[in-house]
């Protein structure tokens, strides 16, 4: 092991293993996760070349091979717990997407939830056995987050008892669904339902797209891959154009809404349940933000401990770059953010499961708040993680730009999270709608509960200048609880400001919608402040649950750093709101620098606690043993351009040119 890293690990003030248990949710779960990881690590069937040296088609092929093997092995090993399946899948594919993602994650669950008994019998078992491979085709080339704008039509023909699916325009072509391009033979297609001359809105249809056996596209179906992307090389995101394509009436998913043989439409009883899937996916994405940022931090911090550069004092040996204050200032706030998001991810999962029990008992009361919260937190965490991963890459200097660092891959795999499953700005505005609704509710005299309960004590005189002087005395910059209060004040102030600006616009313009658009930048800021408050609250709330003293201390420092860094980056809000004075702000900046120094000795152990295996990181710079230079050299030698000493292009282009010049 690299001597720098060994020394760093020995000097840690806490036991990294115990912190891993906390992050996993208990020692037993850590043990089981590692057991599953080792099952895959030692299995020759999952071995393959370094993906960095392969073409897109080769990467797709390896992913298909691994997915097929994975489905078989999951059954052989009898792994059935959803979370364990997720660990397995994510480790097999090393956190990358794979062609069966939508089959396993959308097609099968949608059949389970929305298919009738008859449809389950017809489709589920063949799909379970991969005879049917499906995808979920919702997004169109011209329409994304705004679902009502989708153009694909499904028109019922009572004469033949069939639906006619059609893509009427170029913008209506289904575009992006994963696994659609090459892998799937069926798709669940979302289309506007027309029967008896009426449009009944979006419904889901099971559409066969390729012939079973030959895998050739069926007549009337134009299907293919949408071409190269920023990342997602392994995934065949596809397009689908249907030309008056007929499917039997029984292929509409009819557990809720139905079309009778004569074309009569029967309305569904309750539609709120579809919220459930969205909430689940978005809360899962919060966890993904935490994992991706944690990986990037692990790589950048380990590299900064091994890399030596410049001199702090002339004549001294070159120090580890993590000893530079500017490097600490780049990385430690991100490390603190990664821990914060880990706890938020766990909180979201817990809350989802709790509320799911309520929902199954028919209690939907908490769903609106959870829906608003997951939308905002998905946007807040993915935006932050997105820029954080990129900052980690840049903190690794030139080597961060090489694929051997693993960081470019983490970035391109993660960044679509900002736009898929609801574009982030739109998500923030959904949260804002809930905040404004709650604010109006308080003003009409009704109390609100949950995370927005702070709006209850927002009697407007507290924002008045004469009262402001009372606030700063309350903020203790060494207390996570007190800082949570400060964030709460900021959220309250920005929600109130947005609500008042909205009112003012309404007076000028009359139209509610135009006023909303002209206030939307303020509304997004209010949502961000709300989410920031929630994250600080959850992080500081977790500290008291930790028994191990050394770990509690180190996490408390990270929590303080997270909160103080956020204040320094948004100091305008805190000054403008009269929440902090100038001299407190100076203390915040001073304290933040002290925390950098305090956290420094535990940096190696803190990233070790995330417990990523080297193959998961896929990074030469982030190797556990820190032997980066030797391995970088070995890695580069494997590059296909190095297969011959003289590349053929030399004979083809350069040599002839040289003789002419």
């Amino acid at each position: 092991m690299n001597p720098d890293l060994r020394r760093e690990r020995d000097a840690a003030s806490f036991d990294a293993e115990k912190l891993t248990h906390i992050l996993d949710g208990g020692p037993e779960r850590t043990r089981r996760r590692r057991e599953i990881e080792n099952l895959i690590l030692n299995d020759p069937d999952f071995k393959h070349e370094d993906l960095n040296f392969l073409t897109r088609s080769q990467r797709y092929e390896i992913a298909v091979r691994k997915s097929a093997t994975m489905v078989k092995k999951l059954r052989d090993f009898g792994i059935a717990d959803p979370e364990e399946i997720m660990w397995f899948k994510s480790f097999v594919h090393r956190g990358r997407p794979e062609p069966l993602d939508l089959h396993l994650g959308m097609f099968l669950p949608t059949l389970l939830h929305q298919a009738t008994q008859e449809q389950q019998e017809r489709f589920f078992m063949p799909a379970w056995n991969l005879e049917i491979i499906g995808t979920y085709a919702q997004t169109e080339m011209g329409h994304g987050t705004h679902l009502r704008g989708l153009e694909t039509t499904a028109t019922y023909d009572p004469k033949t008892q069939e639906f006619i699916l059609n893509s009427p325009t170029v913008t209506s072509i289904k575009w992006w669904p994963g696994g659609l391009g090459k892998t799937s033979n069926h798709a669940i297609v979302l289309a506007q339902l027309y029967t008896k001359g009426e449009c009944y809105g979006l419904h889901a249809f099971i559409v066969p797209i390729r012939e079973i056996g030959t895998h050739k596209p069926l007549p009337g179906i134009i299907v293919g891959d949408i071409g190269p992307k920023f990342g997602y090389d392994e995934m065949d995101n596809g397009y689908l154009k249907m030309d008056n394509y007929r499917i039997p009436r029984e292929n509409m998913l009819m557990k809720y809404a139905q079309v009778k043989p004569d074309g009569t439409y029967v309305k569904p009883l309750n539609n709120k349940l579809t919220y459930g899937t969205m909430v689940f996916v978005r809360s899962f994405l919060v966890g993904e933000a935490a994992r991706s940022l944690s990986k990037a931090c692990t790589i950048a911090i380990r590299y900064s401990l091994v890399r030596h550069q410049s001199e702090i004092q002339p004549g001294d040996p070159e120090p580890q770059i993590l000893d530079f204050q500017t490097q600490q200032f780049k990385l430690f706030p991100l490390l603190a953010t990664a821990f914060a998001f880990q706890f938020v991810g766990a909180y979201m999962k817990e809350t989802y499961h709790r509320i799911n029990v309520d929902i199954s008992q028919g209690d939907l009361s908490e769903l609106p708040e959870l829906h608003a919260l997951t939308a905002g937190l998905k946007a807040f965490t993915s935006w932050t993680a997105n820029s954080g991963i990129e900052a980690c890459r840049m903190a690794c200097g030139g080597h961060g730009y090489s694929h051997c660092s693993g960081l470019p891959n983490i970035y391109v795999t993660f960044t679509p999270t900002c736009t898929f499953e609801g574009e982030n700005t739109v998500m923030m505005l959904q949260t804002a709608r809930f905040l404004i609704k709650s604010y109006d509710q308080v003003h009409s005299g009704k109390l609100v509960g949950g995370m927005v309960s702070y709006l209850n004590d927002l009697s407007s005189q507290r924002i008045q200048p004469q009262q402001v002087a009372a606030w700063p005395a309350m903020v203790d910059i060494n207390s996570p609880d007190s800082l949570t209060e400060a964030y709460k004040c900021r959220a309250a102030r920005l929600v109130e400001a947005a609500a008042r600006n909205l009112q003012a616009e309404l007076k000028h313009r009359k139209s509610k919608e135009i006023a909303w658009n002209l206030t939307s930048v303020d509304l997004v800021r209010a949502s961000e402040a709300h989410c920031h408050y929630v994250v600080v609250k959850i992080f500081s709330g977790n500290l008291s649950k930790i028994d191990d003293k050394p770990i509690q201390t180190v996490l408390k420092n990270l929590c303080l750093l997270y909160a103080l860094y956020g204040i320094s980056q948004n100091s305008g809000d805190f000054l403008q709101g009269g929440i902090l004075t100038e001299s407190q702000l100076t203390q915040v900046n001073q304290r933040m620098k002290e925390l950098l120094t305090i956290i420094r000795p535990n940096a190696a152990a803190l990233v070790d606690a995330f417990d990523f295996q080297d193959v998961s990181l896929g990074s030469v710079l982030g190797r556990y043993d820190g032997n980066i230079y030797e391995n970088m050299f070995e890695w580069a030698k494997k590059s296909p351009l190095n297969k011959t000493q003289v590349h053929e292009s030399y004979y083809k282009h350069l040599k002839p040119l040289q003789s002419k010049l």
């Binding site: 091979r65 071409g227 190269p228 530079f324 090489s402 948004n570 000054l575 702000l585």
Partner: protein
């Protein structure tokens, strides 16, 4: 990149029409686009011509030791970490390399110098004896450049292969300086200044063009329920993403002209032996390189994300722009290190201001240090924030305060007995902030100066002034804490500035497409299905995707892995 092939294929009939949404944007001309293009090019004749043609150096461990007996330098990379890594074209293409190495002669080290080194045979291109060379493997971009590694095992080159414009080694090994050691920095400065115009700014400009054009073709949701789905550029949140980037693109374009002017003037002086301007030139090129690369990277990526899912497709052209410009944060000087170099220059001059009785003559870019005092922002109404003088002063005030503060904190530490190098590291974040504020002030001030030159053309002046105002106010509102901190601005003034900012967004909206057209980038150079001049976004996306090799070749993966898997399962049932 693969998509470069696609843009040359013949297109279908849709190519003959311009997307009506985009067409309408071009109808209401508030200024002459061609004239603005000419201004951007530096004159009508240049537009015509253009259209016709279509880090830490001391630490490197490579050594060059002079051998007087053979009059040769012996180049060596003694350890693995001294292996040269990254130079472009080294892996496969280059026959010679320009190597920076520590020069040893007559038993002494004379610091970094440049050497020309043959690395491959001119006959058969094989590496010369003693040279280990190769490609360093795949990267985020630059796939066409074979960035290479190079290990040298006691390679001998003739004495004449040392670059000796500013210093030389005589045949007997005597080292002779010509000019000053700082002159060696000149090569670096030249590179940095060239990069601004050739690499960073075009990346941001192109990203702005693509994202803005796409945003008037793309419709989503409704602003009012009774109306059709709106162009996404009509959403305030989309304007807030894109217009500050557009303003930055214009700001950088004009600032670059001024930097180059200053550079040319100083370069001539330095060649003639007058190095008075060298420290400022060095600080300015370092700071501008860092700031422009930071902002162009962030801006290009922001434009990419503002295009939603389609921005993730390589066919949008945006990922390639982003991955190319993003490498700039580290090459030719890592940005943090560069900011700190600027900070050293600021600190030095600040101390001079402080110690001298009379006002010293300061380099032009920091004259504000002598005049910026403890005043208050005088704004009383919204329109006051549209005064270039007012916001330029505000930026000067903040920069001066942060420089003063960083000097003060450094002084406190050193006077309490802490070693000056340790003290510098402990205050590095403050110096970084000071340098950033200084650079911001410089860009605002310079944009305002360029604006003055346009006063004779009122229509163009008006649209560019809005961009200048937006650039400044966006900078102010994104760093609000700095302006509120010492009470320079009041909370009420923040409200006024915000109001001014929002009013600019809707004014710029009207001219947005024409402002991107004025940059006059051809479809070929944009190479984007989303950003073409005619706006036929969806038709082009569909056509280009069908040409992808994944669609023209078969699907061996299905045959190999999925089909046998199915059979196997079926037989078990």
């Amino acid at each position: 990149m693969a998509n470069q092939i696609y843009s040359t294929v013949p297109r279908s009939s849709w190519n003959k029409r311009v997307n009506p949404d985009l067409d309408i944007e071009r109808k209401n001309k508030s200024f002459n686009v061609e004239r603005l293009t000419n201004i951007l090019d530096g004159g009508a004749e240049f537009t015509q011509k253009r259209r016709q043609v279509g880090t830490y150096l001391q630490g490197l461990e490579t050594t060059a030791t002079y051998d007087a007996s053979t009059q040769e330098f012996v180049l060596n990379t003694p350890t693995l970490s001294a292996t040269k890594w990254w130079p472009g074209d080294l892996g496969r293409t280059a026959t010679h390399a320009l190597i920076l190495a520590n020069l040893y002669s007559s038993g002494r080290c004379h610091g970094m110098h440049g050497f020309i080194l043959p690395i491959r045979s001119l006959q058969d291109h094989s590496p010369l004896p003693g040279i280990t060379v190769g490609d360093i493997g795949p990267k985020m971009n630059f796939e066409q450049t074979d960035n290479g590694f190079l290990q040298l095992d006691h390679i001998r080159i003739p004495r004449e292969n040392m670059l000796n414009r500013f210093s030389q080694v005589l045949p007997d090994g005597t080292y002779v300086k010509q000019g000053t050691p700082q002159s060696n920095y000149l090569t670096m400065i030249v590179l940095r200044v060239q990069l601004l115009a050739s690499e960073f700014i075009p990346a941001l400009v192109k990203a702005c063009i693509i994202a803005t054009r796409y945003s008037v073709v793309r419709h989503q949701s409704k602003i009012k329920p009774s109306e059709p789905e709106a162009k996404i550029l009509d959403y305030q949140t989309q304007q807030q993403k894109l217009f500050p980037q557009l303003a930055t693109a214009y700001a950088f374009h004009f600032i670059d002209e001024i930097v180059i002017e200053f550079f040319k003037k100083s370069y001539q002086e330095i060649i003639n032996g007058n190095i008075t301007n060298l420290p400022e030139l060095h600080a300015l090129s370092a700071g501008m390189k860092a700031m422009m690369s930071d902002h162009c990277i962030l801006g290009a990526e922001l434009c990419r994300r503002a295009c939603g899912g389609h921005g993730y497709s390589l066919l949008s052209g945006l990922p390639s722009l982003v991955t190319k410009v993003t490498a700039s944060c580290t090459y030719e000087g890592e940005n943090t290190v560069l900011y700190l170099q600027t900070a050293r220059f600021l600190l030095k001059n600040f101390l001079q201001v402080q110690s001298s009785q009379s006002t010293p003559t300061l380099p032009q870019s920091i004259q504000y240090l002598a005049s910026a005092g403890s005043g208050r922002c005088p704004a009383q109404r919204t329109s006051d924030f549209l005064s270039p003088q007012l916001y330029t002063e505000a930026f000067a005030h903040v920069a001066a305060r942060l420089i003063r503060n960083s000097a003060q904190k450094l002084h406190n530490l050193t006077s309490s007995g802490i070693d000056q190098y340790v003290a510098w590291n402990q205050t590095a974040i403050l110096h970084l902030q000071a340098a950033k504020a200084h650079c911001y002030h410089f860009t605002v001030k310079t944009f305002v100066e360029s604006l003055k030159k346009l006063e004779k053309e009122p229509e163009i002046y008006q649209v560019i002034k809005r961009l200048c105002d937006l650039y400044a106010l966006h900078g102010l509102l994104s760093n609000l804490g700095d302006f509120l901190y010492d009470g320079y601005m009041s909370r009420a003034q923040v409200e006024l500035a915000t109001e001014a900012y929002f009013s600019l967004l809707s004014l710029i909206r009207k001219d947005a497409i024409l402002l991107t057209d004025a940059f006059d980038f051809s479809d070929e150079s944009l190479n984007s299905a989303l950003g073409c001049y005619d706006g036929n976004v969806y038709e082009r996306l569909f056509e280009w995707a069908q040409l992808s090799p994944t669609n023209t070749e078969g699907n061996p993966a299905y045959e190999k892995y999925l089909r046998p898997f199915l059979k196997n399962n079926r037989s078990k049932l």
